[in-house]
Amino acid sequence: MGRTTAGLVLALLLAPFLVLMTSGSGSASAVTVLCLPKADETACIASTMGSRAEPIAGVDVILTAPDGSEQTVTTGDDGKWSFEVTETGDYTVSADPKTLPDGFELENETVDVKVDKLGGSFGAILQLRSEDYSAETSKTDEIIQSTVNGLRLGLLLALASVGLSLIYGTTGLSNFAHAEQVTLGGMMGYLFVNQWGLNLWVGGLLVVLFCAFTGWGQDRVLWQPLRRRGLGLTQMMIVTIGLSLALQYTYQYLVGARTVRVVQDNPEVSTFGPVTITHQSIVAMAISVVVLAAVGYALLRTRVGRATRAVSDNPALAAASGIDTDKVIRLVWTVAMGLAGLSGLLYALVVNGIKWDSGLQILLLLFAAVTLGGLGTAFGALVGALIIGLVVELSPVFGMPGDFKYATALLILILLLLVRPQGLLGKPQRVG
């Protein structure tokens, strides 16, 4: 006992120095310093059992060296394990199945690690799965599950891109700061629901109202005065880039680089045949469909919707026929930002977390959706978003490496522009 305490005290005393010596690479593991690589002398093979949120303790992890010798360590309460090695070569890591928690097995029996230089750390993730999981899910089931995921992503993208497309249609502006409005929705959800403890529905409604208000305010203090000054569209687009940069770093400043959640508890899951889906996703999809239908109805059937389409078609002609274009544009900004906020909130609920750059990651998908459907057409954006969502989720099923699933969507956009530059639903004469 005494020895352990002394060792612990020593480790705690030494830890800061060791962390300093490895300059920047090890600050995260300051509490349990298990293995720190020394330049040209040792390397580390380390990882965590389970996830950071739910570590798995007490698993015996076995390392097999290139010469066949074995070492074993047991994971601590934080699930971390590590080995120190002094030679380069191909190592294998496995775990003793008897020490795994009941009902779990390793996805892969062993994981290969190639230590190609000393002085570095190498990760080896031993993935666990429940024993009744069958790896033989049929291709059809996989496709159905991915299609549902794709539709879910597509609907969320559609919420944001309809607004982006309407703004483009009525003002000609490609709004790069739209992504930050999506992030804002999630961040506000975090503030209202997680921090202030409001009911999710009430908080969600407040988020949408707040985001819509920011849209109204933006047009009031920024975009309308700039239009009046006669600032060119290119210049305005660069203003949106500046706004986007400023907002991104403001989020980082206020929340930090971490991921925050709107609701704390883990989502409940339902299974319908081959499809596994969280309850939040079902509700999010339902809300998206209802809201998109409402927007579509408003555009087609109401007076103000017709006015919006008229401005989108030809602002000068619309103004000449007595439509108050400024009012329409103000309304478009308000609605578009509200929709973007809703999209961000639902996105944060569906993927269970939002980060300062979450919006930024889907910005290009939004642009791809809008361009694919035809710049400036609201229904084109809807179609484009669904296609992009499906492509992103389905491309890994058809053999595209997972790293490239966003790239696939962008590639399709570029290819489509070659053959049909006006987009799927755009009119040819819109292209200059």
């Binding site: 490609s174 700039l226 000054r229 600032l231 060119g232 569209l233 290119t234 210049q235 305005m236 687009m237 660069i238 203003v239 880039i241 500046g242 706004l243 986007s244 940069l245 400023a246 907002l247 991104q248 770093y249 403001t250 980082q252 400043y253 930024l360 290009l364 642009f367 791809a368 361009t371 710049l375 490496p401 790293d403 490239f404 966003y406 790239a407 962008l410 590639l411 956009l413 570029i414 522009l417 070659l418 530059p421 292209v431 200059g432």
Partner: protein, 391 residues
């Protein structure tokens, strides 16, 4: 005073760093796209990344350095062709959306773990793997050098008044230089050019007198890479000067102002735009190569943000000018360091820690970009009449 000296030192180090020179080269390329031709290229970082990968991977795989440079340029050339063909006949927004998407695709591919053996995935390629041949080219001696050896310490023991006076004269010299560069029509000829050169040399010497810099001659990030980087900046400026004075350069401006007018003169607008896209992209690739010579090839260091910073620098210095990109880039990086260091030194840690100071400096960058475009679209050196175009 000591704090101020600390901040100013950091600013000067940032101003002469090879990264600043590299971005300046990329911004010179962007100036050909955006400033002179009116092409909205949002993927300049993609060109840079291609140049860096072309050089880094080739040398890493054991091929000659010269071949690496060639591959870097080749990749950028192909990239420009691929992007230009579908979009240059369309309205400007399409080029913007396609270039930004394509640059992101390059980054995703570079990050992908599938190509770890070539690109080093998200970790990138460490500089030690490919900068050797470049350092071997150095004809500088070994050891280190302080520029200037004669500095403010030698005058009245570096008293406060010496430094204050020196700073005041520096600011005056820079203001005079900007005034000279802006007075294009009124005051021209050999006298003006001579005066500009003289003033530039004087300002640089004065800055080095006030802020002596000590680096190794050749080390990983020594004088050699700085010398090469800034020489390349000078060469690029000269090339652009020759290009835009040529008949071809006049066509570029013509396309920017009125594409149809140029077309009605029987010129092939598409071909000229494509040439501009390629040449600007090659500058971008060169910038990317220089960028990684003193660091490592990291896909995430050349993402969208870098393109946006390039635009900020370009607009700050003045688009459609020769020296605007260089001045703008230096001002951008020096200004950011000023904000960051200033916030760090003068604002207590309880209000703003180091990390937050960095974020704060980027918030200021974003707001500055907005204000710049709204209130002074011509930047420091530009001409407002040249920036009324709409793509």
């Amino acid at each position: 005073m000591d704090n101020l000296q600390l901040i100013l030192n950091a600013m000067v180090r940032e101003a002469v760093s090879p990264q600043t020179a590299a971005v300046a080269i990329a911004v010179i390329g962007l100036n050909i796209h955006f400033g002179f031709t009116g092409l909205l290229n949002m993927g300049q970082a993609g060109f840079m990344l291609l140049g860096a990968y072309g050089m880094g991977i080739t040398v890493w795989q054991g091929l000659p350095f010269a071949l690496g440079i060639l591959f870097g340029f080749g990749a950028a050339l192909v990239f420009a062709l691929v992007l230009g063909v579908p979009t240059l006949k369309l309205r400007g927004d399409y080029l913007a959306i396609v270039t930004i998407s394509a640059a992101e695709i390059i980054r995703y591919v570079g990050r992908s773990s599938l190509l770890t053996d070539f690109t080093g995935s998200a970790q990138g390629i460490p500089g030690s793997q490919y900068t050797g041949p470049f350092r071997d080219l150095s004809f500088f001696p070994s050891g280190s050098l302080t520029l200037l050896p004669f500095n403010y310490h030698d005058v009245a023991d570096g008293a406060v008044w010496v430094r204050l006076l020196g700073w005041a004269i520096t600011i005056g010299a820079v203001a005079a230089l900007v005034y000279l560069l802006r007075s294009g029509d009124r005051f021209s000829g050999v006298a003006r050019n001579g005066l500009v050169v003289l003033l530039t040399v004087f300002t640089v010497l004065l800055v080095l007198f006030l802020f002596p810099l000590n680096y190794q001659w050749t080390g990983v990030s020594g004088w050699w890479v700085r010398f090469v980087a800034w020489s390349l900046v000078a060469v690029c400026c000269f090339v652009v000067y020759l290009l835009v004075r040529s008949p071809w350069g006049r066509l570029l401006r013509g396309i920017r102002e009125d594409e149809d007018a140029i077309r009605s003169l029987g010129k092939n607008v598409f071909a000229i735009k494509m040439q501009a896209l390629i040449i600007g992209g090659l500058f971008g690739a060169l910038g990317g190569m220089v960028y990684v010579l003193a660091s490592s090839v990291q896909p995430d260091s050349m993402g969208r943000s870098l393109t946006f910073f390039c635009y900020t620098a370009l607009l700050l210095g003045g688009a459609a000018t020769i020296f605007g990109p260089v001045l703008g880039t230096i001002m951008f990086y020096v200004g950011r360091v000023f904000i960051q260091q200033g916030a760090q030194v003068y604002v207590p840690d309880s209000i703003m820690n180091t990390q937050e100071a960095a974020w704060f400096s980027y918030i200021v960058v974003g707001i500055a970009l907005m204000l710049l475009v709204i209130f002074r679209p011509q930047g420091v050196l530009g001409d407002k009449r040249e920036l009324r175009f709409d793509v």
